[in-house]
Point group: C4
Chain length 206, copies 4
C-alpha cells in the first residue's frame, strides 16, 4: 500500500477511535494521545493539545521512529512513550493512551503494580488464554520529564517482556495492539478491569 | 418459515442485540456471546472471539444441538452452556450472555446464591407476577472446563427448575427468553438488579 | 383541538419521553408507565407490560377518569395511581413513572420521607423559587394492591397538598407536570437529587 | 464581523454546547446557564429557565455589560456572575455554568477551597503547564442574593487573580475560556477532576 493511502487509513482509524473513546468519557478535554505505524520510517500520531473526540485530519501528523516531526507539526509531548513501544514490541502497530476515570482513580490510589486475576475478561488481552492468568499492570509515577519516564518503562519491560499496558499515576494508561481493533479491545478490557478493581476497593476498604 | 429466512432473522436480531448491549458497556472488548434457535436441528451462535458491538453477518454461525459446527466456523468456547439451556428449557429460543460491570462485580464479591427480593422489577422476569417473589440467582465458580461447568449448572437446574439466569464469578451472567425481546428484557432487569445489590453492599458493609 | 389530534399528539409526546428516559437507563426492561390528559373524558396511558424505550402508537391506549379502558386494551396495572393524580391536581396534564436506579436505591434504603434541601435544583420543581425550600418526598411501601396504595397516597396528599412526586420502595417514583416538558424536567431534577442523596449516604455512612 | 453575524455564531455555539453538556447529564432539568461576548457592548446569554439541552435561537438573548436586557427578554437570574467574569478576565469570551453531578456532590461535602493536585489533566486548564501545579477551586455558599454572591467572588478573585473556575454549594460550577472550545475543555476537565476527588472521598473516608 502506498504511504499516502496507509497514512489516510491511519488518520481515519485514529479519528474514529477518538470519537469512540471520547463518547465514553475516556479522553476528557485534550487528554490522551494515539499513534499508529504507517511504514518502516513513519508513524502517524496526534498533534499536541488537540481534542481527541473531535479530531480532524490535520490533527494527525507524521513522525519518524526517533520521534522527530516529519511535517513541521508539533507531536504530543509524550511521543517518546509511543516510539518506545514500537521499538520494544515489533508486533504493536497501534498505541492508544486514554485518560479514563477508573484508570486515573486506581493509578492514584495504588502504587507499584496492580495484579489482575480471576477475570474472564483477561482473555481479551492478546496472548492470554485463561482467566487463571495473573496480569501485572505497573503504575509509574507521573513525570513531565518524558525521557526519564521512558527509561522507567524500559527497565520494567526488560524484566516483564510480556507487558500488556501500564498506568501513569493521575494520568491514565497506555496500551497497544497489532491492529486498531486489538488496541481498542485492550482499552475496553483494561478500563473495565480497572473499574472492577476500584469497586473492590470501595466495597472492602472502609 | 424457510431455514435461511429464519437464520437471517436471527442474524439481524443478534447483531442488533450486540450493538445495544455494547452501547451500555455490557459486552466490553470481545466478551459475551449470544445464540438463538433457528429450527429443530440448528442454532445460530456468535463465532468465537468477535466483538459483540460490531457483529457482521459472518460473525454468526450455525451449530447443531450437540454444539457441533455446521458450517466449519468455530463457535464460542462456551457453546455447551447455550445448548444446555435449549435442552433444559424448551421455551427458551434466545440465550444472551452479557459481561456487564455490576454482574461481574457482584459475582466476585458474593458466593453461592444471590437472593433478589422486594424489587418491583422482578416482575420483568417471565412468570413472576409480584414483587413479593424471591428470585435466586446462583453464582458458579468460573471454569475453563466448560463441560464441568455445564454439569454444575445442570445440577442446579435439577434442583431449581424455574431458574431465570445465573452468574459466573468474574465472568458476567447468562439469561434467556422466548423471544429476543424477552431475553433483552431479562438482561436489562437483571443488570439493573445486580447494580442495586452492589449499591446496597457499598452502603451497608463498611 | 379535535380528540384524535390531541390523542396523536400525546402518543408522540409519550413515545419520545419513553425513548429519552430509556436512553438514560430510567425505565429498564418493561418498568415504568406514562399517561397524559387528552380531554375532559379521556386519558392516554401506556398499555400494560410494554417496553417504554420502544413504544409504538399501539402501545398507548385510552382510559376514562375512572381508569376504565375505552378501547379494549389493558392499561398499566398502576392506572389508579395515574387517575388519582389527575383528580387531586387539576393542573397536572402529564404523569410519568420512571423506575430509575437512584430512585430505586434510595427508596429501599430510607423510610417515611426524604427531605431535599440546600439544592439549587429544587428550583426546577414547579412553584419552588429558592434553594432554601425544603421539599419532602414520601416513600410508600410497595404494594400489588394498587387501590390500597392509592389510599395511602391520598392520605399523604391531604396532609401535604403541594406534593411534587413520591417514591415507592423498590419501585421508582411518580411525578407530574402541566406539560410533557414540565413532567420531564421534574424527572430529571428528582433523579439527579436522588443520586446526590445516595452519594451522601455512601460517603457519610460507613 | 457584523454584530448580527457574531450573535448568530454565539447562538449556534451555545446551542451546541447545551446539547453536548445535557447529553452528559451536566445540565439536568433547567439548571445551568451560558453566555458569550458578542462585541464590546453586547453579551449573548441564555434566557432564564430554559432547558439547556434543547435550546432554540430564541432562548438566547442580548444583555449589556451591566447585565441589562437589550431585547426585552429576561436573562438568567445569575447574570451578574457572568458580567463579573467578563469584567475581571478580559480574555474570557465564553462563560459556562454547568450543574453536574460530581461538582454538586463535592460542593456540598467540602467547604472553603478544593485543592487539585497530582493530576495530569490540570494541564487542560489554560496556562497550566505541568501536573505539579496546585489549582485551588473555591466553594462559595449558595445565595439567592446574586449581588452578594458576586461580591464574595470578587473578593476571592482579588486575592487569587489566576482563578480557573469556582463551585457554589449544591449548585454546580462556573468556568470560562477564550473560545467556546476552551470553555468546554475546562468543563470536561473540572467535572472529571471533581469526580476523581469524590471517588477519593468515598474510598478514604469511612
Amino acid at each position: 500500500m502506498h504511504l499516502n493511502q496507509m497514512f489516510n487509513l491511519r488518520i481515519e482509524e485514529l479519528m474514529n477511535a477518538g470519537r469512540e473513546l471520547h463518547a465514553q468519557g475516556w479522553v476528557p478535554a485534550t487528554s490522551g494521545n494515539f499513534s499508529a505505524r504507517v511504514d518502516e520510517r513513519t508513524i502517524a500520531i496526534t498533534v499536541s493539545g488537540r481534542h481527541k473526540g473531535r479530531l480532524n485530519p490535520q490533527d494527525i501528523m507524521c513522525i519518524d521512529y526517533q520521534g522527530q516531526s516529519l511535517d513541521g507539526k508539533k507531536p504530543s509531548a509524550e511521543t517518546a512513550l509511543h516510539t518506545q513501544i514500537y521499538s520494544h514490541f515489533p508486533k504493536a502497530n497501534v498505541v492508544l493512551h486514554p485518560h479514563s476515570p477508573a484508570a486515573t482513580a486506581i493509578s492514584r490510589r495504588l502504587h507499584g503494580r496492580l495484579i489482575l486475576e480471576n477475570y474472564e475478561l483477561l482473555k481479551a488481552l492478546s496472548g492470554i488464554k485463561t482467566h487463571e492468568a495473573r496480569v501485572g499492570i505497573p503504575i509509574f509515577q507521573n513525570d513531565q520529564n518524558i525521557p526519564r519516564l521512558a527509561e522507567e518503562v524500559a527497565a520494567y519491560i526488560k524484566e516483564y517482556p510480556d507487558l500488556k499496558g501500564y498506568l501513569i499515576a493521575g494520568h491514565g494508561f497506555y496500551t497497544w495492539g497489532e491492529t486498531i481493533e486489538d488496541a481498542l479491545r485492550h482499552v475496553e478490557a483494561l478500563e473495565f478491569l480497572f473499574e472492577q478493581e476500584l469497586l473492590s476497593l470501595r466495597i472492602s476498604h472502609p
